[in-house]
């Protein structure tokens, strides 16, 4: 493949990852890292560095749009980012001390459980009623957005904030420790634990992942994992894809977004269990 074709293919692939990432609240690393390493033959370190850049680019592009449409809740995002960022820093410090494999296995099993939970919720368009969580009320973890698909305003408030905060912190620790993106866990915590509408969950996750990723950007940069020739086409493609994805997501039903999210956690659960058992390549 010629250089120009290679770079164009990278932009196109990243565009796809950006669309998916913006809709599902993920950085796209779950798609990009395997594609970059297996299809493009890029070294794993550069693939992970590019994936980190893609998380920040997706987050910037998608969250900018979602903040405008009211789907990203900035207070919920900042409140929970305290948990994910401190978690990620502690996780990074602990890496090498804590046995990764056992953790991956536990994580895989926890994700399998969340698959079951998501399956049970597949038909639920919106959570019923407004919960009365005292922390949510004190910190204003609530909002309203105009649902284009349902054609009405939707009011929501976070439930079980304490549990959600702890889950977010755990997600941060794991992402720092295992070097995995934590977008999927953020969405699960927002959707399942805190019972926010699915679209608010993925949009708010989009806002948060950029902040969490920025916390580890310096480490990747210092290690020389961020290669400009790979990161530039990836960032460009992802940001373009994210703008298309955000426009698309507003029109989808909450149930559709959740149904699209399901294969991601099934894949994550399986790959974590495989890694925990020592089957995977990594």
């Amino acid at each position: 493949m010629g250089h120009v074709a290679f770079l164009a293919a990278l932009v196109a692939t990243s565009f796809g990852a950006g669309v998916v990432g913006a809709v599902l609240g993920l950085g796209g690393g779950i798609l990009l890292v395997p594609l970059l390493t297996m299809v493009f033959g890029i070294n794993l370190h550069y693939a992970m560095g590019a994936s980190l850049i893609s998380v920040i680019a997706t987050s910037s592009g998608a969250a900018a749009m979602y903040l405008r449409s009211g789907l990203s809740n900035i207070r919920i995002g900042l409140f929970l980012a305290m948990a994910t960022v401190t978690g990620a820093l502690i996780g990074a410090a602990l890496s090498g001390i804590v046995p990764g494999r056992a953790l991956e296995l536990i994580l895989g099993l926890a994700l399998s459980y969340s698959v079951v939970v998501t399956l049970r919720q597949l038909k639920v368009e919106l959570p019923e009623g407004l919960p009365y969580d005292p922390i949510a009320m004190r910190f204003g973890l609530e909002g309203v957005y105009h649902d284009v698909r349902l054609g009405r305003e939707v009011k929501y408030r976070a439930d079980r904030v304490k549990v959600g905060f702890v889950v977010m912190w755990g997600a941060g620790v794991l992402s720092g420790l295992l070097g995995i993106g934590s977008g999927a866990f953020k969405v699960l915590a927002l959707d399942y634990v805190m019972r926010l509408p699915m679209k608010v969950s993925t949009a708010t996750s989009n806002f948060m992942i950029g902040i969490t990723a920025a916390a580890s950007a310096a480490v990747y940069f210092g290690r020389g994992d961020i290669h400009p020739m790979i990161a530039t086409p990836v960032a460009l493609g992802v940001m373009l894809g994210a703008s298309v994805g955000t426009a698309l997501m507003g029109r989808l039903r909450n149930t559709t977004v959740r149904a699209l999210f399901l294969p991601v956690i099934v894949y994550l659960a399986l790959s974590m269990i495989a890694r925990g058992l020592g089957w995977g390549a990594s």
Partner: protein, 131 residues
């Protein structure tokens, strides 16, 4: 849209766009400089580049980037690296600016939350940059 949402949204969008523009300018000028089909423009597809010494074309510290910018002609890849760093700093900038907006709205609780977050983020950037 509240003021803080509007301002954070703008920072994220324009921060992203400007950073990617810098990265593109750097990469395209580099391609023009060395010739796009040449050896110098080989996209690295090695298996373990680190065993062969430090990776080429990759800046690993702010000092290196600044040196590349001070040189004449300016190292185009240093320009791309500035874009990369700017992209990484974009979410941090959004959090930092939100402190002021929350304060001006009289929301001291969220000004404090943003301050704590900003401190953690800037701390991690400084620690990683020094290493």
């Amino acid at each position: 849209m509240t003021p803080v949402e509007r301002i954070v949204s703008r920072i994220l969008w324009w921060g992203g766009v400007a950073s990617i523009a810098l990265m593109l300018i750097g990469l395209v000028s580099y391609a023009v400089q060395v010739g796009i089909g040449s050896e110098g423009f080989d996209v690295p597809r090695t298996i373990e580049p680190r065993e062969a010494g430090p990776p080429p074309h990759v800046f690993t510290s702010v000092r290196q980037v600044l040196e590349g910018l001070r040189r004449w002609p300016v190292d185009p890849l240093a320009v791309a690296a500035v874009g990369l760093l700017a992209l990484a700093c974009t979410p941090v900038a959004a959090v930092v600016v939100s402190i002021g907006v929350f304060l001006s709205e009289g929301d001291r609780r969220y000004a404090l939350i943003s301050t704590l977050l900003a401190a953690a983020l800037i701390g991690s950037l400084l620690m990683g940059g020094a290493g």
